[in-house]
């Protein structure tokens, strides 16, 4: 007898209930995101300060022209030089 071979056809699952819920959640999130984006765009667009005011309020920095190929000089983060201590603490008695 020829050997019987059985081929299992994978069952097609019906769309689950949770998948529907996921889709609904995604839609809801998208709507909230759209509303937020619109609100932010409106808030950001409202002029609160003039450009001159913004420049005046910003920190004045030295702008160094950078030639192509040169590295951009990093802002100095080194604290001001500290003096040598005249004395050092030690446990007193």
């Amino acid at each position: 007898m020829p050997a019987q071979t059985t081929t299992r056809t994978p069952r097609r699952k019906a769309p689950s209930r949770s998948r529907h819920q996921d889709q609904k959640l995604l839609l809801a999130l998208g709507a909230v995101g759209a509303i937020l984006a619109g609100w932010l765009a409106l808030a950001g667009g409202a002029p609160t300060t003039t450009a001159a005011e913004q420049v005046a309020a910003s920190t004045v920095v030295n702008i160094v022209p950078v030639a192509p190929g040169n590295s951009v000089p990093r802002a100095s983060t080194r604290p001001p030089a500290q003096p040598r201590p005249i004395v050092r603490t030690r446990s007193s008695r």
């Binding site: 001001p80 005249i86 004395v87 603490t89 446990s91 007193s92 008695r93």
Partner: protein
Amino acid sequence: MTTVTVAQIRQQAFTAMGCEMLAALDAPDEGPATEAPAWFATWEAILSRFRSTSELNQLNNAGGAPFVASRPLWLVLQTALWAARQSAGLVVPTLLPALEAAGYDRTFATIAAAATGTSTALVAPAPAVAGDWRAILCEARSRTIRLPAGMRLDLGGVAKGWAADRAAQRLGRAGPALIDAGGDIAASAPPRTLPGWPIGVADPRDPGGQLALLCLTRGGVATSGSDYRRWWRAGRWWHHLIDPRTGLPAESDVLSATVVAPTAREAEMAAKVVIFLGQRDGLAWLEARPRLAGLLVGQDNSVLTSRRWVHHLWR
């Protein structure tokens, strides 16, 4: 004794009260700074418990009889009683028997020379009970002191803090001055060309290391810790900070405490209180006192600072 001149700041290093001292003066004339060692020598002769002829020892041997004190002894004792009140009895001058019982019965240089890593005693000493500092009677007009019979005083730490303040005040008449009296530091005013006196806060865990740089305009700084002045006895390390509640060297989770205060004597008292109270309660005690700021190094290597500490850092 050496005199070094850095810019206009005259520095005079000398030894007194069993410690290395420094007098610094921002003035063109070095004359006044050279007088500081003599002031300390005079005070040491009066206040040292290691000199048999000192006035303090005469008071300790008065056997309960009234004793008319010199002005320095009177002032230092009043400072010690003030410290006892401020610290609620944690920093008291009545611990001499406990110090001696713990092994600090001679100058520290002698103890250090004798203790070379081996035990100097096989049995741990019994703790000695601290005398009641409130039983000391003082009459201000005649500067008369009466100790209860058997009570003996040690004014070591208080005397150095008082001497640092006194010397800075005296030297300050000639110009901005700083005194380092064995770790009790006092400044009269900032140097003329700097915002304050730069003072390095040493790291007790790292010789040569520095935890912070303070800018002391005026007032005092002091550090207290069990990392210094300690000796090996009966199989363990002993140190000079006797807790009056037990009569034994304090067992604290604070290795070292540095305090900035309006005077060196206040800083000295406060640093000891923090050691006795430990990290949590010591920090809370500092925070409750707006005159004080401190840095604590814990036995667990933690470094804690009070909120006001940042105001005293060099910027």
